[in-house]
Symmetry: C2
Subunit: 273 residues, 2 copies
């Protein structure tokens, strides 16, 4: 193979690192791939670190120790995150989104890849240090944003089901009380899905009373899994007191002060910190 220029190597290195978030690559891996000396690759990595920081395109971490190397962590500048969530709120406040019964049409937003990818990066950024082993969600609407959060964290997604089915093998079922209606519902997770002692991050689309989230925490208890955090796309302002505490949401939905029959969606306060 011909000698490769630094500007060519930088392009390939960027693609490889950013396409596998949180995967640790050894320096030798890249030295072999590009036929470059360790000192040269080290310089390349320092350059990439600076470029990503300068344009707020994510973080490059150097991990020391026996299993050490370099990893890419998706991240979004706070200004861009605030702008992106602000744009989304303006879109969601369109009157055409109001459905019969005072509900808000969110399904398109929740399954547009570029939107859920951005949300996943913002949420993952809050939990890198908590080092979850997997992301847990409850079917169905939270799956896309939970998958993108798991992707940014470099961990698997685990999906709790409403019913256990033959494709999942033996399962643990729990009953929980939904916060909104007070109904008893069932949540099911395959015994194979997680291991005792692991750490879970819960991600879902919506939190109102917190009953479903409480159910997911109880389900993790059954598996002796520690929940490191809970994150949602949308929280309702009321009830203020939810069945869980310390949740992180991207947006808050409230009755409109000038018109109590319509809704007002706002970015969550912590985004402006």
């Amino acid at each position: 193979m011909d000698k490769i220029h630094r500007y060519e190597r930088m392009a390939a290195l960027t693609k490889l690192l950013t396409a596998s978030p949180n995967r640790i690559f050894t320096l030798s891996h890249f030295c072999d791939l590009f036929g470059a000396a360790k000192s040269t690759m080290s310089e390349d990595i320092d350059i990439l670190k600076d470029v990503l920081a300068r344009y707020e395109l994510g973080k490059l971490d150097t991990v020391t120790g026996a299993a050490g190397g370099v990893r890419f962590r998706p991240s979004m500048g706070r200004a861009e995150a605030t702008r992106m969530i602000g744009t989304l709120c303006r879109e969601l406040n369109q009157p055409s989104r109001l459905l019969a019964g005072g509900f808000l049409y969110l399904s398109d937003i929740l399954s547009t890849p570029s939107v859920v990818r951005a949300m996943g990066v913002i949420l993952a950024d809050q939990f890198y240090e908590s080092a979850p082993d997997f992301v847990l969600t409850m079917e169905t609407k939270g799956i896309p944003v939970a998958l993108m959060t798991a992707d940014a964290l470099g961990v698997p997604l685990v999906i709790a089901r409403r019913v256990s089915n033959v494709y999942e093998g033996s399962a643990v079922n729990i009953n929980y009380v939904t916060g909104s209606s007070g109904h008893i519902e069932t949540m099911s997770l395959s015994r194979r899905a997680v291991k005792a002692g692991q750490r879970a991050l819960i991600v879902d689309d919506f939190i109102k009373g917190g009953g479903t989230a409480r159910g997911m925490i109880d389900l993790m208890d059954e598996f002796s899994v520690h929940v490191v955090g809970t994150a949602f796309v949308m929280a309702t302002a009321s009830p203020e007191q939810k069945r869980i505490q310390g949740e992180k949401s991207l947006m808050v939905m409230d009755a409109h002060p000038d018109n109590p029959e319509t809704l007002l969606v706002k970015p969550a306060a912590w985004l402006n910190d």
Copy 2:
């Protein structure tokens, strides 16, 4: 801002283009961002095109015309795709994956971001030229791979539900016959989700008889949407005659010739073409 070197610009350019698959960026966009001349940016893009091709990291397309520019299309070399699917088949052929009733445990594979991302890239690569406007899937297990396929194609994901619910607004419901059990089931899609005249790519996790896929095609008929293709993670070898035709699957599952009570998973034949 200090003058930026080509090797720095190449890193930022690569990240920006590869993080937004199929989005067309104008040359001026990058000229403004980097303070570079058009001729310089043109050279950068040619270099990136060559590097991506050399390391089989995807394709950079130049789009001419008024809305022209440059776009990144995720793509995987055929050798790497075959290797990746082969590794997956070996994993799925582990006896520990067999469940009671002769079913195969697939849930972990279907929600591991790096795995579904690779599958999404392989599937999207088959349908770029068909230019779908969205990807359609049926809840639940196909959602992650369908989302990653939609992401690679740069289009929204649309999720058909088993029941219509208040959060989706008014919906079109159809009944369909499942291929495996012959039961009548219902499939529901919000009226707002798609528009007449659009083009759909159907992506799901599993096809046996093809009843669910047939149902999705009929559902699209109700919306006057043209189905450009159907793609699946896993197809069963039997029945050979399915209720749809021309589907593209990544893997095929058959009874093991030496032991009819167990299963054998193989890469689909077209991957070796």
